[in-house]
Symmetry: none
Subunit: 173 residues, 4 copies
Amino acid sequence: MTDKKENILSAALELFAKDGYNATSTSRIAQRAGVSEGLIFRHFGNKKGLLRAIMEDVEARIGQLLAPVIFEDDPKRAIRKLILMPFSIDPSEYDYWKLQFKLKWEEEYHNPNKMKPLIDKLAWAFRELGYKDPEKEAALLNQIIDAISTEILRDGVKTQEAFKAFLLEKYSV
Amino acid sequence: MTDKKENILSAALELFAKDGYNATSTSRIAQRAGVSEGLIFRHFGNKKGLLRAIMEDVEARIGQLLAPVIFEDDPKRAIRKLILMPFSIDPSEYDYWKLQFKLKWEEEYHNPNKMKPLIDKLAWAFRELGYKDPEKEAALLNQIIDAISTEILRDGVKTQEAFKAFLLEKYSV
Amino acid sequence: MTDKKENILSAALELFAKDGYNATSTSRIAQRAGVSEGLIFRHFGNKKGLLRAIMEDVEARIGQLLAPVIFEDDPKRAIRKLILMPFSIDPSEYDYWKLQFKLKWEEEYHNPNKMKPLIDKLAWAFRELGYKDPEKEAALLNQIIDAISTEILRDGVKTQEAFKAFLLEKYSV
Amino acid sequence: MTDKKENILSAALELFAKDGYNATSTSRIAQRAGVSEGLIFRHFGNKKGLLRAIMEDVEARIGQLLAPVIFEDDPKRAIRKLILMPFSIDPSEYDYWKLQFKLKWEEEYHNPNKMKPLIDKLAWAFRELGYKDPEKEAALLNQIIDAISTEILRDGVKTQEAFKAFLLEKYSV
DNA sequence: TATGAATGAGTATTCATTCAT
DNA sequence: GATGAATGAATACTCATTCAT
């Protein structure tokens, strides 16, 4: 991949994450990337194509982050790893996550199945631990982590730090 | 308030809730409201002014919905009422709620303090019931309700129905 | 119709006739009409809409020009009037005609049926005059007039003047 | 001439003939020719240069087609050959002709002198046959053939077939 | 010879906003 | 209060062309 193509990708990620897809014009992306506007279209066809290219990256990163949870064999440790996850995201990767959350509300880009494997794993963990309604517990914890991630991305990790111990204790993990 | 002004307000609410603020043009609002585009600016100054006017409504509705929780004197019943709340929203009012959630991610319009009184009330309730860390419990339940509301607004109330009993039991309320 | 709307119409007619539809940009039209580019779209929706509006005029003018032929009761005089027609077009109306011919080759705008009533009338005239194959004679004369009109529009009426007498004599009208 | 250069030429001919010069982009030409866009400019300098190269071909073909008329020594047979000409064009060569006609109205490319030798030959033929105004007869027949060719290129040879016998008889050739 | 990255000017169209009536 | 004409800046996208490789 050429330098300029990468510049476009990272400028777009940054702006999409900050302002959203609709509110970011291709001309601002080009400007920030230091390239001509036309180049965006030569490389990605259209604005949606650029978004798609970025989303592939985003999904890969999320996959990487979730992998340790999904491949954990011990149920307690799986839950623990998930709870710790939002606190361990590298700030340099926040934009990937912000975009993911922004797109839930913008565009038709929302794909709720993306989290399916994680929820399944959690359900398994809760079942192993003898919880009465493991599916619901899984969905609930997933939502909690989702909400905490949201807050972290908006206001920084420090504002949510207190929840870490709280949740670990609540779930005894 | 004149008819036409109200038409504008309800057309804008509908469109903002469906497509977001940025993706809704004043011309589409005028068209759907059956008024001239100019009238929007006579009444509300500019597009942001229109959004502000709508948000006043939105906040009033949310206030109304939360009032029964906040003025409940029995801690168990307060928690119970909050859990039931997202399931009891009249579908005709969904747009107010959708807009509220959409705006969290769009615009600089997010006002996290809006929920402060509710969280305080919840903290009080959990304290009364002897929970160890009532502030965190309050924040957590608030986030859970937030997440469930989100899902209800996106996919309908039926998809989340199962959580009602689950949560009521979990919190023994 | 407002002044500015008419300005747009006449600027567009002029430019479409000179350079063709595709080769004329909306910005050049706006510039020549002395209006903002946006106004074109407010009045005509899009570039095609502008062309359509012009074509309605064009067809009305052509109708007017052909009417004396079509409502002529004497066959010889009908043919005579048609032959004289291209020589009698007011130069101020050339653009309407040029556009008509340009569009035959550009766009999907060609409508061969437009000339049907004229050809029918000619066929009738030739039949009345005892010609052996009146339909073909009609089509042929129509084509000849078409070709002469083309030349007149390109190079001026003088270059074709000699054909006037030649054709009148040829058809003895 | 290299393969690729020929590919460009034939792709451009096809597209210019179908959509016109202005409406055909160099990128579409390159795509259809299966070459890089840059190669067009290496070979032909610019888009106009490509058109010029094609027009040389076009004129050569037209010359070939007219040669039998121009070198015919018998006046009747010369006229006969011209009348038959548009019906005998090989459909695989239609694009050359379409382009020729399209360009009459687009671009500054029209060259009316191209037909001079043909018209001179016709004038000679009509003079030989004792027509009263051979120059005009020549110009007229040329226009008729031109018009019939136009129709054939647009709607196919069958739609004009009937004119063949009609004209041959009209001119007794 | 041939490519493919890159550009700057241009395209049709939409936008929020103003203003005379 | 209400309209509809009008605008200028912005939008996503296309174009012919250049150039290093």
